[in-house]
Symmetry: D2
Subunit: 153 residues, 4 copies
Amino acid sequence: MIAVKLSKLRPLEKKLLKAAESALKNAYNPYTRTTVGAAVLSKEGKIFKGSSFANQSSGSNVCAERAAVLNANTNGFRKIEKLAIFENDSVKGGEPAMPCGICLQFLEELPKISGKDLEIITSNDSKTRIFKTKLSELLPFPYNGSNGKKAKR
Amino acid sequence: MIAVKLSKLRPLEKKLLKAAESALKNAYNPYTRTTVGAAVLSKEGKIFKGSSFANQSSGSNVCAERAAVLNANTNGFRKIEKLAIFENDSVKGGEPAMPCGICLQFLEELPKISGKDLEIITSNDSKTRIFKTKLSELLPFPYNGSNGKKAKR
Amino acid sequence: MIAVKLSKLRPLEKKLLKAAESALKNAYNPYTRTTVGAAVLSKEGKIFKGSSFANQSSGSNVCAERAAVLNANTNGFRKIEKLAIFENDSVKGGEPAMPCGICLQFLEELPKISGKDLEIITSNDSKTRIFKTKLSELLPFPYNGSNGKKAKR
Amino acid sequence: MIAVKLSKLRPLEKKLLKAAESALKNAYNPYTRTTVGAAVLSKEGKIFKGSSFANQSSGSNVCAERAAVLNANTNGFRKIEKLAIFENDSVKGGEPAMPCGICLQFLEELPKISGKDLEIITSNDSKTRIFKTKLSELLPFPYNGSNGKKAKR
């Protein structure tokens, strides 16, 4: 986990963060002020966006991170190597959002598919605080259960 | 809930079901045999697809229905009026899949947004059994809680 | 779904609703005003309570209905025949709460185990509005998928 | 994360692990072979058990860890300081199970309530491999979002 300045991001990272920012505007939340945008980069260099989607029964909320991966997968690109997160953090202290545990579990499939750790960039809404991290840093000891039987990948 | 023949679907319904079928091929499930494709139709006539995405911790699986809505929303279209579901039902008895309760709860936002009941078409993988139904028929008495405060839609 | 008066509930139903009411006081929610208590009755006549438990990432909230069933199951009683729900509905219009879709899906295991439909009683916090219903009425066309392979119950 | 021998656990830790083991026998899973038992210890020295509960729609599975905490909370004890996990790991390589990301997110409430990090003991089913760890080690950078508004704990 390192704090980086916007100006120090590589062009592709800036582009990915910009996609996450633009996804924020389609986030759906008529209930609370939390909205998030995300974007993922596939091995092939394709970018897919995701916007958070709230629910009256908040247990059914879906985060932007998952929306972005689902969008990429639906379009046939699931070798995801980078994820950018951009949160409207008006009610927080201005720190970039970390993925929730549900998203971390969901994202844990990605290194199995890509063969690489997932790089994560997360920014507050003014881009004055940006962190770079990796999935293995956020979830260092992932669930190692079986989902019924041995995977046949 | 009525059973219909493929030949009796309207052209747009056929197109939507075809999109759901094509989404099936991008479903991700290295763990079990269940894979599903879905597609939604927006008020504006746009179609968005969704493919199911499994997880080693099966509680983090995301169904195709949610993936399709998230994809539409991320692209700025959330007045969803129709949903088609196409399941690879090799391990079942050949009946079309019904959405799970998590998806029903998730989908329950859509009538609030569109102002209309959500029409649902669900087909088995040989298209020999197709049902037409509506969200209000599958979830006739939805959760009416508050998600923290009154919605401000 | 029928509206009933408190005085018309049978003694065991009153006792179950009272248990749900008492479970409300242990509900945990430092984030929003929604709290719920629930109680289930097993075939053997045992009552188990459940209190809702909120989470900073609201997608991880767990409802009282699930808590009550989990408590019964952990104690070795999973032939559940009745469920009572009691919501602190200060922010709503005074109508009894319906279970959310996640709970409906979760509860759907119970008729498979007990061999009977699940009876549901739900009350507002003043007990001036009480509904009696059944799981089959709230979720008339449940998910019929496979969870990986045929169940071996 | 350290590997410990059963004989090196303190008496209370052994008792907690034994409670988790006994909770395993009430785990419900007619679908796959994964079953888990858990137990939590409150600040007051009370132990509460939890058994995993599977669902036909696997996204609605609830893990033993959450069941144990819910049980404790329903009984009025939510200052949880220790958690033990015992998995029937017949289909895995004999390593103790780590909590899934959904559980990690759920458990993240506990240090806020107790004011202390959550200690975790996890064992394989022969007790030949036991790990001691802490929540802060499994989820070092938790979600820091708002759930609608500032918590008022």
